[in-house]
Point group: C2
Chain length 238, copies 2
C-alpha cells in the first residue's frame, strides 16, 4: 500500500498542502466534527477567481486544472507572478492576512477547495506536519519569486522563456509522472508573455527560433522538449 494516496474528492495526493490539510482523509481529521474544508468551487476558463483588495475568510487550494496569480496596474498592464498547479495553496503567506494582495485567474476549467482561515490557523498550531507543509510552501514561493525577479531584471527574452519552461516542467514533474520529455502544458503564448514580461508577439518569434533550432515546441497544450541539455544551458539559474 502506498504511503500517499490521491484524495477521492479532489485527486490531490497527500504530499501536497491539501493532503496535509485533509490529514490523509481519515475520519478523525475533522474540526469540531465538520470536515476541515469548507466547500469546493469551480471556475471556467479565464474566469477571475480572486481580486487584489478583496478580503476573504478563506484560504484556497487548487484541486484540478491550472490557475495563476497576477498583479495589475491601473492601466491594465498585468504581470503573472506565479502559476498555480495541482495541490498549490493560492498563496502560502496569505494565511496570515485577511486582505488579498494579489489576484487569481483560472487558466482553464479549475476546481479548488476553500478552507476557513481560522480553522486552518487553529489546526496549524497543533499539527507539526501542517507547519512543515506551510513552511515548505513559503520557501518555494519565495525562491520562485526571487528567481523570476532575476530573470525579469537580468535575462534576455530567450533566457527568460527557457527558464520558465524549465521551472514549470520541474514543478509538473514533481507531482506527476512524465514520459519522454513531453509535458501537458496548457499555457498559451500570451501567458508565457505575461509571466516573462514580454509581449505575445515577441514570445511567438522566440518560440519559432526555439522550434527551428530543435530546442522545444509548444503547441496544443503540450510542451515537447527536444534538447533538454541545451534548454538547460540557456535557461538554468545555476
Amino acid at each position: 500500500m502506498p504511503d500517499s494516496w490521491p484524495c477521492n474528492a479532489c485527486s490531490v495526493r497527500d504530499a501536497g498542502f491539501c493532503g496535509v490539510l485533509l490529514g490523509r482523509h481519515s475520519a478523525e481529521n475533522r474540526l469540531r466534527g465538520q470536515p476541515v474544508w469548507q466547500d469546493f468551487r469551480v471556475a471556467r476558463p479565464n474566469e477571475s477567481i480572486l481580486a487584489r483588495g478583496d478580503t476573504s475568510e478563506h484560504v484556497y487550494v487548487l484541486c484540478e486544472g491550472w490557475a495563476f496569480r497576477f498583479l495589475q496596474l491601473s492601466d491594465g498592464r498585468r504581470q503573472i507572478v506565479r502559476f498555480l498547479l495541482l495541490g498549490d495553496l493560492f498563496s502560502a503567506v496569505s494565511l496570515f492576512a485577511e486582505r488579498l494582495h494579489f489576484s487569481v485567474q483560472a487558466l482553464m476549467q479549475v476546481r479548488f477547495a476553500r478552507f476557513r482561515r481560522r480553522d486552518v490557523a487553529e489546526k496549524l498550531a497543533a499539527d507539526a506536519a501542517l507547519q512543515t507543509a506551510l513552511a515548505t510552501s513559503c520557501i518555494e514561493e519565495d525562491v520562485g519569486a526571487g528567481e523570476l525577479l532575476l530573470a525579469l531584471g537580468r535575462r534576455s527574452a530567450e533566457e527568460r522563456i527557457a527558464y520558465v519552461f524549465l521551472h514549470l516542467t520541474k514543478r509538473i514533474a514533481a507531482s506527476n509522472v512524465i514520459r519522454e520529455n513531453r509535458y501537458s502544458f496548457p499555457l498559451r503564448q500570451q501567458h508565457v508573455a505575461a509571466l516573462t514580461g514580454l509581449t505575445a508577439v515577441h514570445v511567438s518569434r522566440v518560440l519559432t527560433i526555439f522550434r527551428d533550432r530543435g530546442l522545444c515546441r509548444l503547441s496544443g497544450g503540450i510542451l515537447d522538449v527536444e534538447d533538454p541539455v541545451e534548454l538547460e544551458r540557456i535557461g538554468s539559474v545555476k
Copy 2:
C-alpha cells in the same frame, strides 16, 4: 514613558522584529538563562555577508546600516531582490530552511545580530507576538516581491525608478521621523540599477531627467523629493 524604546544594544525599536525577539530587552526574555541573541557582527561597506547555498544555523536581523539581498547568475549578472533596513530580518521565510537561497551584501558599514534558528523556532511556538511579527514580515516581503516583479516586467525605466524611490521612502518613513521630504538614502546609482533591472548608465540619464523636471534629486546619500505628487503619479502601483 513610551511603549516602544530603542534597544541600547542595537538601536532597534521594539516594534521591529528584533525588538519582538528580544522581548523589550527585559531580563526574563532569555532562553535557558542565555540571552536569546547569539552575538552581534559587523560588516564593512560592500562586504559580502551571506552567499546563496550556504547553510546557517542562524537567522539574522539588521541592527545598523543598510544591506541588500540579491541573486546572481553564473556570469555575474546580479539582481537585488530587497533592501534590508533597520530591524529587518534578512529573510523571513529562511527561518524555515537551513540552506540559503539568496546572498546578502552590506551597502555600508552595518551591524547585525545572529539568532540561533532553533532557539527562535522554539520561542516562536510559545510567543504570539513573535508569530505575528513573523507573519507580518512574510507578508511584507511577499508584497514587495510581487510589486517589484510587476515593475520589472511591465514598467518603463522612469516608472521603475519612481516606484523604488516611493517604496523605499515609505519603508524609511515607517521606522524613522522624516523632515521635509528629505530622506537619508545611501544608495548609489549602481544599486538603483541593480534593483530596477537597468544599467547604471541608464539610471544616470533618467535621474538627470528627474532633476531637470524638478521631480527629485539623489546625491550625497540624500534623496530630495521636490514634487511628491508627480513622483507618485509616475511610480505608484495604484
